[in-house]
């Protein structure tokens, strides 16, 4: 931020140094993805004879087709596609439900505070931080008791429940900044709880809905812990399937198929990031600076 005096030779060297370091780091961040991508379009022969960063001589889409459609994962030979749809089916309801409840909670905790509501908020905040290991065992029992331990709905329930703390936090912090006069004026005019929510709060909530939905989508899509603990076989989400693919000790390791599968697993969240990066970053720093 400080403006330095320009043009002197040492200043030019200084600028070159700064740009050099920044570009070097850009390369450092890009190389792993680049390596993944070129590996995913090489044949196994080329992988065995070439190096990590050698460009493919005969690019092939075969690893992608195999990863998607007929690679062996667990006991099936149908590739990663089924698990991809599992994750989609899990993410959509979990994100929508947790976001919607979070919006209502945030509205109450900022504009309709009552005795004890601040305590509730503080207790919920703590829920953002607990290491989930501490709830895994009771949750496994509970899902079994509810008959949900083998179904996608079990994971939807888990992600909704443990997403609530974050969604509530996001909306509460956003609504706190909305002037209370707006709500009070509407109240004097006779508008009720839900009417104020629909007519006043929701129309100004689009940015925070974006932030929350993107945050939740990324979190839930990328989750591995809940997936590996609470699902088996055909109901597993894509992250668990990817790990199974990568860590099976089969005779021939097909790195190109592994890489293609990893990129497929990354595509939805990368897409969200490149389309709505602004909201993604806002969620990151909002999730970080809490309270």
């Amino acid at each position: 931020m400080p403006e330095a005096i320009r043009q002197s030779p040492s200043e030019v060297a200084h600028r070159i140094f700064i740009y050099g370091v920044l570009l070097l780091f850009a390369v450092y961040f890009l190389v792993p993805f680049f390596v993944m991508f070129i590996t995913s379009i090489k044949t196994m022969d080329e992988i065995r004879t070439g190096t990590l960063i050698a460009l493919p001589r005969q690019p092939t889409l075969e690893p992608w087709l195999k990863a998607w459609g007929y690679a062996t994962i667990g006991v099936t030979n149908e590739g990663i596609q089924g698990f991809f749809w599992n994750s989609i089916r899990m993410v959509i309801p979990a994100v929508l439900i947790s976001t919607f409840i979070g919006a209502l909670n945030g509205y109450v905790l900022s504009k309709w505070r009552f005795k004890g509501s601040d305590t509730f908020f503080a207790m919920l905040l703590l829920g953002c931080f607990i290491p989930f290991q501490v709830i895994l065992l009771p949750m496994a029992r509970t899902l079994g008791f509810l008959g949900l331990s083998e179904s996608m709905w079990g994971l939807v329930l888990v992600h909704t429940v443990y997403g609530l703390a974050f969604t509530t936090l996001f909306f509460r912090n956003y609504y706190v900044a909305v002037p209370s006069e707006l709500v009070n004026a509407a109240r004097i005019d006779g508008a009720g709880f839900f009417r104020i929510f629909w007519r006043i709060m929701l129309p100004i909530s689009i940015p925070i809905f974006m932030v929350t939905i993107i945050w939740q989508t990324t979190q839930i899509w990328n989750d591995f812990l809940f997936g590996v603990c609470f699902s088996t076989g055909e109901t597993q989400p894509i992250t668990v399937a990817l790990n199974n693919l990568v860590n099976t000790s089969s005779a021939v390791k097909e790195y190109n198929v592994d890489m293609a599968a990893a990129i497929i697993a990354a595509l939805p969240t990368l897409f969200v990031y490149f389309v709505a990066g602004k909201y993604f970053v806002r969620g990151l720093t909002a999730g970080a600076v809490k309270g």
Binding site: V21, N105, F194, A266
Partner: protein, 288 residues
């Protein structure tokens, strides 16, 4: 009258969920940790036997030592690199937007994807080792991934790669909120750029250092996916962390009580850093 109760009615389900699924479950886990449960939970109280046993297990010590090594290096490198990138990016860089996008994209990836990529890059045989050998150093070996003493450092490499961008974003936001006039005044007084950074700007980022430290510590304690994918805790259990230890005991080895005890210790570690942090944050907000 119903209208007056509405806010409480709306909160009630979330309150119930929180009490059951967070606090109730924590108590449940605590209780399990004081029993002799193996494959199935049993409910006869035996006191703190499991905790005493836990500290006699070599594997738990390895997991805790790894957490110290991994957590320490992870926090150190993320902070240094993140701060450096933020300061450099803050020098009126023309392509700042593009660079920021590149630095932050790993955060959109799952640790499973990151782990898969680094597992391939670090694998001895076809990975970096082959690359350097082909470049002429034919005796070069790089087999950390399969060496007991070194495998945890592979986890550090991948984790730093994934999280540095986040720290950069935090520091950049901090830098952008510093009052310009202090810096201008220092410049008028003839202070050089480096001096201004050391004496004024970096010290004023103290709250950001603090939050970053808390969040990175918290990420480190919870780290699980990356280890599972990258090393599976191996070779042997040499790269285990408390989270993978807990999973192994509770879910694959059928030692529920032991798993619960290790989970409670993880919980205690997180609370030891989070509670003071939240307390100070909430207090600051109130008296601001």
């Amino acid at each position: 009258m119903l209208e007056a109760a509405l806010p409480k009615v709306v909160i009630a389900p979330s309150f119930a969920i929180m009490i059951i699924f967070i606090y109730g479950f924590i108590l449940w886990t605590l209780y399990i940790s004081t029993t002799k449960s193996t494959f199935l939970p049993t409910y006869d109280f035996v006191g703190l036997v499991q905790y005493a046993k836990l500290w006699r297990i070599e594997r738990w010590w390895v997991a805790c030592r790894n957490l110290l090594v991994y957590g320490g290096l992870f926090i150190f490198f993320c902070t240094i690199l993140g701060l450096l990138l933020a300061i450099f990016l803050d020098q009126k860089i023309r392509i700042e937007g593009a660079l920021r996008t590149i630095y932050l994209y790993p955060l959109a990836l799952s640790f499973v994807v990151t782990g898969t990529a680094w597992k391939w890059i670090l694998n001895p045989g076809l990975g970096i080792e082959r690359l350097v050998r082909e470049m002429g150093w034919s005796a070069f070996t790089f087999d950390w991934l399969v060496t007991s003493e070194m495998s945890i450092y592979c986890v550090v490499i991948a984790a730093v790669w994934q999280s540095t961008g986040f720290v950069m974003a935090m520091f950049l936001a901090g830098l952008r909120s510093i009052d310009d006039s202090i810096i201008k005044a220092a410049q008028v007084d003839g202070a050089g750029l480096r001096r201004i950074y050391w004496k004024i700007i970096i010290p004023s980022l103290r709250p950001v250092f603090f939050s970053t430290f808390i969040i990175l510590t918290h990420i480190a304690i919870k780290s699980f996916d990356l280890v599972v994918v990258l090393t599976r805790g191996g070779p042997g259990y040499s790269s285990d962390l408390p989270a993978t230890f807990m999973y192994a005991y509770a879910f694959t080895r059928g030692r529920l009580a032991m798993g619960a005890a290790s989970a409670m210790l993880m919980f205690a570690m997180v609370m030891a850093i989070i509670v003071p942090y939240l307390y100070s944050e909430l207090r600051r907000k109130r008296y601001a």
